[in-house]
């Protein structure tokens, strides 16, 4: 998996799990670039993309911050739409491989049961 994708995922994960909180400042593009032994542009690209998604907020000369309001209604709509699209792609792939929606449901439910068992 490309560096920028790994980084994007890591940041999103850090935010959703609360390790990065709303309003908190992220490392400088250069700082993070040095730390990860990566070009600054790669980090910048990730920050920019996450800003377009409304997750981060960047201010020149200042830094990059976790957006203060990222779970608003508008974003929730986008999120729903993303989920639909993801499921669309998934169903398409599956049907090409000869699986029905029911097959997928079964498999998913099996997973969920295992997961709950683990957590108990």
């Amino acid at each position: 998996m490309p560096l920028y994708a790994q980084l994007t995922r890591a940041i999103q994960f850090a935010i959703t799990t609360g390790r990065l909180r709303q309003g908190e400042q992220l490392p400088t593009v250069r700082q993070l670039a040095v730390e990860l032994r990566v070009n600054a542009n790669t980090v910048a690209k990730v920050y920019a993309e996450l800003e377009r998604s409304g997750i981060l907020e960047t201010r020149r000369g200042v830094g990059t911050f976790v957006c203060a309001r990222q779970f608003e209604a508008s974003h929730r709509q986008d999120h729903e739409e993303q989920l639909r699209q993801l499921v669309d792609r998934f169903l398409e792939e599956a049907s090409a491989m000869g699986f029905t929606a029911d097959d997928l449901l079964d498999q998913l439910q099996t997973r969920r049961k295992k997961e709950t068992k683990k957590n108990v």
Copy 2:
């Protein structure tokens, strides 16, 4: 989506839906290449890949055919494994986007209901 992937999917779909039946002969690599305005190698690549998957069977100087026995036990196991892997990828992507397995289940069940409504 690349040509070879489209073609692969199309052939798989044709077989699973019965438009291509077991033992039936497919077009020559050259025929299909001309028809699709594509290089013969692209078609050959697809045929070869599908043969490795046990879906097609090619005989030099004769042609390419739908494999006579593709729903045997051994293949069914592979199929199950493929389903698991597909769901794995799906869950991973989804969790990176902040969705839980339950979100996916809900969305899928909604789809299924709509589908059954349509078919009734």
